[in-house]
């Protein structure tokens, strides 16, 4: 058991187990994004940490019983991890466990279903953490190497997840990660029962792999996802599907699918039948079956830009399935830059769109912000993707980072326009009004920043019964252009909403609104009276920035009672469901963390000395580490161009480099004063990051992807390396004074990490990333301060309390 060879196998085993766990965690985030919505991705981080915290508490209470049989328990827990990874996925799709986001505020039982959902997903993390935790408790004198193995494996898990996203179906991945956990168990099976263990584990491994490849379980999608509703249509079928880090993509056909957003009532022709592409079961775009089909856009408000000029150089951002690109080509544009980062969306629609064969089109497979940072071209027209959806999205986009809709993005777009160039953006009308007002505010602030003193001369918008298109021009609209817009509107039964010299009668001629609220608020925003609107309106209208890129987050908690009074308790929830869900998961994670982690530990209180230090030191570390992780994830979404790459890079990078730091720390002979110096350095580094990280990332936006990966490793790795040190150093310090406090410390750390995952998400939305980074620095400062709470050892305890080793 204590042999060198066994310890080396143990190191590999822990590394492999950790790799499988992180890959599983990332795959769960994708899985929940597919069957439900994006929010639950952050819930997964909390659930994983809950598993670790609860395991710590379990070990703390039962350690005397567990340690003597660790030889059997370690492989057993790893086997259970491997079995439960796919089993839980299957169970969560069964009727008794299924839960639906949309029903959360409709049926009270759904709140319990969500709680059950969280408890189910908690199980594999719990068993994994039991295995890792027992090893830490048993081998505290070699904790640095073990911690390194754990974190190095976790780091590689991120890379493994990216590979798996490209090569496996979403429900196959848990079987693969489960298989890896079984392999981890095989490395450390007890020698005197080797044959039985090998046979059992081998059979289990085979049973896991077979279903994964021959019959992966179907995805139990919410009935409210657009893919579910499309598949209910007659003769709807999935022609092809594939997975990627960007999302699980499907190409669907049906003879009844049609596309004509905000079609004019003057149109009397045939609306073309289309195919559709979905990403993570949400609508990603229409695929026009023939080039001429895009003529339907002539009868939508988005055609307004083409009424004014024959644009030659056109940029299509977040181009999706190429509908706007084909339209621009049809209208005679000579140079069209089609920018889309989701490779599968482009590939899937290419058969129909044939954009690669269109000489006027250049395809750019990258995210739009990187493209804007790199290109030096100027354009006659820049087209942004439509915002919102017909009927609204119930606020389910609230947590989605939308870096193309920030003031910085609009500023970049404006700078890429030719002298007489336009940019255009179409918005689905929502009620109460949010999207159009926030876009108006974003445009106004951009024009103000560019020194435009009469924004109303540079801005036109055209309204149909359900869409609104804004056109922004660098130079004032000419009288000929203004007349062209009036003629366009008359012909197609649209109404101008913003137009130089507009009258109130013109605004409400064909698509009459019951009140003037939309007009008066938009006028106030454009005229510069924005601040009072931001302060008083019931929804959050202040434009998104790169520091707070949540364009679709409109909820103001203090307005909720007013909205409930007007719309009723239930309906108000559906106005901004997304943010409310984060609140629900935060409260549930708080409850679960208290019950599963803290409550059991109260039995151990009397055996622990230096409670104050233990509580504050490890709380601060848990909170600080998680806040930094969330901020880095958010910042690198912009830098690396997609949330999945960012999550994988940050989680892997942080775990790998902090693992390296913890390993090196095991060789340091540090006094408490030494630990204080390390923590102080972390505090100062985070303060610097709060200020300069955004600037550094912006400066590097135009780099190639490989340069970006290198820069990311450095920027993520630097603080992580040092942040990896205080935890094992603190555990080692505690183990020398009071070994029974070790699992208690681990549990406290786990509890605060769980709660901080959801809390950090809420704080990021409310206060922005820079302030959140400052809070992380504060958390580490509190950790530093806690070292002054350490009680000196009494003389009967021997050695000086301030030295270790």
């Amino acid at each position: 058991m204590g042999s060198h060879s066994y310890f080396n196998r143990l190191l590999f085993s822990i590394g492999l187990l950790s790799l499988s766990m992180i890959a599983y965690q990332l795959s769960l985030m994708q899985y929940l994004s597919i069957v439900q919505w994006y929010h639950f991705a952050y819930m997964v981080i909390g659930i994983a940490l809950l598993g670790f915290g609860a395991a710590g508490s379990f070990i703390a209470i039962f350690r005397k019983s567990l340690l003597p049989i660790i030889d059997y328990l370690l492989p057993l827990f790893m086997v259970l991890t491997g079995i439960f990874m796919p089993l839980i996925l299957w169970l969560s799709g069964q009727p008794f466990a299924r839960f639906d986001t949309y029903l959360l505020f409709v049926e009270r039982s759904q709140l319990w279903q969500l709680l059950l959902y969280e408890l189910l997903f908690f199980i594999p993390f719990f068993f994994c953490a039991l295995a890792i935790g027992l090893v830490f408790v048993k081998y505290t004198n070699r904790i640095g190497k073990l911690y390194f193995s754990n974190l190095a494996g976790s780091g590689l898990g991120g890379l493994a997840a990216i590979v798996l996203f490209w090569t496996a179906f979403p429900t196959q991945i848990p079987y693969i990660t489960g298989f890896l956990s079984l392999m981890a168990a095989l490395l450390i099976i007890p020698l005197h029962r080797k044959r039985i263990w090998m046979i059992s584990v081998g059979i289990t491994a085979v049973l896991l792999i077979l279903p994964a490849f021959f019959s992966p379980p179907p995805l139990p999608l919410s009935q409210y996802k657009s893919l579910s509703q499309t598949l209910d249509l007659p003769e709807a079928s999935i022609v092809k599907s594939a997975n990627s880090p960007h999302g699980w993509v499907q190409y669907v056909t049906s003879p009844v699918l049609r596309y004509a957003p905000g079609l004019s009532l003057s149109f009397t022709g045939e609306v073309p039948v289309i195919d559709a592409v979905f990403s993570n079961a949400e609508w990603a775009g229409a695929v026009l079956r023939s080039p001429g089909d895009s003529r339907i856009l002539d009868y939508t408000t988005s055609a307004a830009a083409w009424e004014l000029a024959a644009h030659k150089k056109v940029l299509i951002l977040d181009a999706g399935t190429g509908v706007r690109t084909k339209y621009a080509s049809l209208k005679g544009a000579a140079e069209i830059d089609h920018v889309e980062s989701h490779r599968l969306v482009t590939d899937f629609s290419e058969d129909q769109t044939e954009l690669e064969n269109d000489e006027s089109v250049t395809l750019h497979q990258q995210d739009s912000r990187s493209f804007l940072a790199q290109t030096e071209k100027s354009y006659d027209l820049i087209s942004l993707p439509p915002i919102g959806a017909f009927g609204g999205t119930a606020g389910l986009g609230a947590l989605q980072e939308e870096y193309l809709l920030t003031t910085m993005a609009f500023s970049l777009i404006y700078d890429r326009l030719e002298t007489d160039g336009f940019f255009e953006i179409t918005v689905w009308l929502d009620y109460p009004y949010r999207n159009p007002l926030k876009i108006a505010a974003t445009i106004s602030e951009t024009l103000a920043e560019k020194g435009i003193s009469h924004p109303e001369q540079h801005l036109v918008s055209v309204r149909s019964w359900n869409t609104l298109t804004f056109l922004v021009k660098k130079t004032p609209f000419s009288s000929a252009e203004v007349q062209a817009i009036r003629d366009f509107c008359d012909r197609l039964y649209f109404d101008p909403m913003l137009l130089p010299g507009i009258t109130s009668e013109e605004r409400n001629q064909y698509n009459m609104l019951e009140d003037q609220v939309l007009f008066s608020l938009t006028d106030s925003i454009i005229s510069g009276n924005r601040e009072s609107i931001y302060e008083t309106y019931d929804f959050h209208l202040r434009p998104a920035t790169d520091d707070k890129p949540y364009f679709s987050q409109f909820l103001r908690l203090k307005s909720l009672p007013h909205l409930q009074e007007i719309f009723g308790n239930q309906s108000a929830s559906f106005i901004e469901l997304g943010y409310l869900i984060v609140g629900v998961t935060f409260l549930q994670s708080l409850l679960l963390a208290f019950v599963l982690i803290l409550l059991p530990l109260f039995r151990l209180k009397k055996n622990i000395s230096n409670k104050g230090f233990t509580l504050v030191y490890f709380s601060g570390l848990g909170m600080g580490f998680m806040f930094v992780e969330i901020v880095l994830i958010q910042r690198f979404v912009l830098y690396l161009g997609h949330p999945v790459y960012s999550v994988a890079a940050v989680i892997s990078g942080m775990l790998l480099l902090s693992g390296l730091g913890s390993w090196l720390s095991s060789g340091l002979k540090l006094s408490i004063a030494g630990i204080r110096k390390i923590v102080l350095f972390i505090v100062l580094l985070l303060l610097v990051y709060a200020g300069i990280l955004p600037w550094l990332l912006e400066a590097g936006m135009g780099f190639s992807i490989w340069a970006k990966i290198l820069v990311s490793l450095v920027l993520i790795g630097l603080p992580s390396f040092f942040m990896g040190m205080p935890f094992p150093l603190g555990l080692h310090f505690l183990s020398q004074r009071n070994e029974e406090a070790v699992p208690w410390a681990w549990g406290i750390n786990g509890c605060l990490s769980v709660v901080s995952a959801s809390l950090a998400t809420i704080l990021a939305i409310e206060i922005g990333f820079s302030v959140l980074m400052l809070l992380a620095a504060t958390a580490y400062f509190i950790t530093l301060a806690s070292s002054f709470l350490i009680k000196k050892k009494s003389k009967t305890q021997g050695a000086s309390p301030q030295t270790m080793n």
Binding site: R258, A260, L263, L265, V271, P432, T536, I566, S571, F574
Partner: protein, 231 residues
């Protein structure tokens, strides 16, 4: 003694069903009073229709106890049965009377069709989801409606054989108004389109086909949002 007990049990069982029906009847009357009349629905035929239509027979079994509550309910396939107030509001907007012929695109539960059928001569309703069409058809037939004509199909084409219509209700969420539906609407007729995310309808679009050929829309707000302002 045993036979007396048996007779008592049988009598009890037979009285449960009528008692339950009385409860639904009471709930329905209460619904009309508290949710429709109290919110300004005045059109008498609409109110009478909603007092008559047994909404609880058109919702899934799991939702029956909530049938008369002031909220929409899930009916499967990502669809809902609208909040009673919304149904009343939409019905009142089109001002149905005897002699009218109405087309509905998106039968869903069949409740809107049943309410209309209490007032107008003929209701033609189209549902594209097969299961929903079957369930609604079966429920409406059981309830005895003979003037509701339901077909499973694509509402994009309307129902040309019975056009033109005095009114068209388009409850199926669609990002555009099919041109054929406008063609099948009588001049001076009204088309109503509820707009909103699942479980909530924030606004209604009223489409009017004018005699001069022009088409106009009017945005109606069943619930008027008044922004909070200071001072």
């Amino acid at each position: 003694m045993k036979s007396e007990l048996l007779i008592s049990v049988v009598i009890m069982l037979f009285s449960i069903a009528p008692a339950e029906q009385d409860k639904y009847h009471r709930d329905r009357q209460q619904m009309v009073t508290a949710q429709l009349e109290a919110r300004g629905i005045k059109h008498k035929p609409t109110l009478n229709a909603m007092r008559s239509v047994e909404r609880h027979r058109l919702v899934p079994k799991a939702q029956v106890e909530y049938a008369y509550e002031d909220r929409p309910l899930p009916i499967g396939f990502g669809q809902t049965i609208s909040q009673p107030y919304m149904v009343g509001y939409m019905t009142e907007v089109i001002r149905p009377t005897a002699g009218m012929k109405v087309l509905e695109i998106g039968t869903g539960s069949g409740y809107q069709a049943a309410v209309l059928a209490e007032i107008v001569d003929e209701v033609y309703t189209i549902e594209i989801v097969e299961e929903l069409a079957k369930t609604a058809k079966s429920s409406l037939e059981e309830m005895g409606y003979t003037n509701i004509h339901l077909k499973e199909g694509d509402g994009y084409f309307g129902w040309e054989e019975h056009a033109p219509y005095d009114a068209i209700i388009v409850t199926a969420a669609s990002a555009f108004i099919p041109p054929l539906l406008i063609e099948q609407l009588k001049e001076g007729g009204k088309m109503v389109i509820p707009v909103g995310a699942p479980f909530t309808t924030q606004q209604l679009m009223l489409v009017e086909k004018q005699k001069d050929g022009k088409r106009k829309t009017r945005n109606l707000l069943p619930v008027r949002f008044v922004p909070f302002t200071r001072n």
